[in-house]
Symmetry: C2
Subunit: 260 residues, 2 copies
DNA sequence: TTTTTGCCGATTGTAGACAATCTGATCGCT
DNA sequence: AGCGATCAGATTGTCTACAATCGGCAAAAA
């Protein structure tokens, strides 16, 4: 009896990776890195040639990306990288806030000493990035920090959906280039989060996470509006940020003109 | 200039629905209705013949279903309807609870009179089903009730993910056949939810929703355990129900033997 | 000049063919 | 009889070919 069923890495690789998987991963990478920008058209023949595969696997990968919300397939017209409209970004932030509140609660209840030490280290690193004024590095650490927190909450479904949302959100305008002129605020909020978790108070930790995400929402949305990005339809700016998740009258759902 | 661009229904249909879409919808229907039970193998050639299409569109539909979590594609072995293990069902309930708490909050803040009247009507209908001891009808009304609440919260992303979770959850063992021996409890909780929403107190409404989902989790899990469904690995039953979303030690993630 | 109509290239939708892989059954050996 | 190797059938992975649709350009009409 094998103590552990650990197939050779190469075996594992061949068993799991079909062309569809590889193409899917590669396309996702290209999209998330901005190499394929929102709105870009993905022509089957061109991409197939570039990746060295036929159209079949490529189309299957497209379907995966479509369900993941990264591309939009328009019948007989082509596949396009999605452009996330502001309203949707706001919705994602609100949803994330609720999810992260759950994360904070669970962590306050269950986190171990070693794990606490680990995330403290991440906050330290972020504060160092702030001192160095290294916005890019800070951005990466920030992503990693939140991802790790969600992961530590121990709900894999939650993790899965959280990551899906983050991916979609990265398609929101030029969010990636977020200039770090508010890094100190964000960093100090992180410190507060860890402190609340360490205290073991679920309510406090949940609230700290929730508030942080909502603040992050405000910062991101305002930053994007300020960039002079012509708004879809000249919406009431402040109200957008205030209460995103509110009831709508029946017929103003599919009004945005961006590819959604 | 056309006052309203209202394409003929048939036109609209042809523009949006490709074989992939139709097949996807049909397969989803068959899976959710139980016509294709969890664990069932979906053979490409057979299904293609049955549906009258070639393998191409069918495979693309498979990819959509895979990303939606309804089937599992095993390379070189086939496509199988997923079987949701208990642990995952628990995770989904916990996640749903957090989302529904958000729903309750938003509804307490924003619901209109007409909408309140609408959901009151649904609760009335459910209480009638309880009196008639009509478990099936109650089940449908219950689904509709919660779906409508989420919809009314006005966050389309939230709605989308909620529905995805519900679909996956319907694959959990024989959840559909939930005998209604606890309908009265569930029904009275619904009444409380509506009451809390009507009061306009976000905290109360959020808590009512959260508690209801968690109670529903307990009822469902216990009901399924009781059914003599041999447990995957003889887990600590009570602890499963208690705190699902907790931290796990490193290597007990992919341990279930069901197709996941 | 402006608008409309018909055509053509380009691209996507679908189908079918071929190659690779897996499953399980039969045969042979110990 | 038990165990393992080999082979055949079935099924999936990938590619190529054909049909349908779209978008734009040019020519003709107003």
């Amino acid at each position: 009896m094998n103590a552990e069923i650990v197939p050779h890495p190469t075996i594992e690789l061949l068993q799991t990776s079909s062309l569809v998987n590889v193409v899917h991963g590669e396309l996702e990478r290209m999209i998330l890195s901005g190499q394929l920008a929102p709105g870009a058209k993905l022509t089957e023949l061109t991409l197939a040639a570039k990746l060295g595969v036929s159209r079949g696997p490529l189309r299957e990968a497209f379907r995966l990306l479509e369900e993941a919300g990264l591309v939009k397939i328009a019948k007989n017209r082509g596949v396009f990288v999605r452009d996330i409209p502001v309203e949707e970004a706001v919705e994602i932030f609100d949803l994330r806030a609720a999810m992260d509140e759950l994360v904070g609660r669970r962590l306050a209840e269950n986190i171990s000493g070693a794990q606490l030490k680990e995330i403290r280290g991440m906050v330290d690193a972020m504060e160092k990035a702030v001192k160095d004024n290294d916005a890019y590095h800070y951005h990466l650490l920030n992503l990693k920090f939140h991802d790790r927190l969600v992961e530590l909450a121990g709900n894999s479904k939650l993790t899965e959906i959280y990551r899906k949302l983050i991916k979609e959100l990265s398609l929101f305008r030029r969010l990636n280039l977020e200039d770090g002129w508010l890094m100190p605020v964000s960093a100090s909020e992180h410190r507060s989060i860890v402190k609340a978790i360490a205290t073991g108070d679920p309510d406090a930790a949940g609230k700290a996470m929730f508030d942080h995400v909502m603040d992050s929402k405000t910062r991101t949305i305002e930053h994007n509006l300020r960039r002079g990005t012509a708004l879809p339809d000249a919406l009431p700016v402040a109200s957008l940020i205030r209460s995103s998740t509110n009831t709508r009258t029946k017929s103003d759902a599919g009004k945005s003109k961006t590819i959604a």
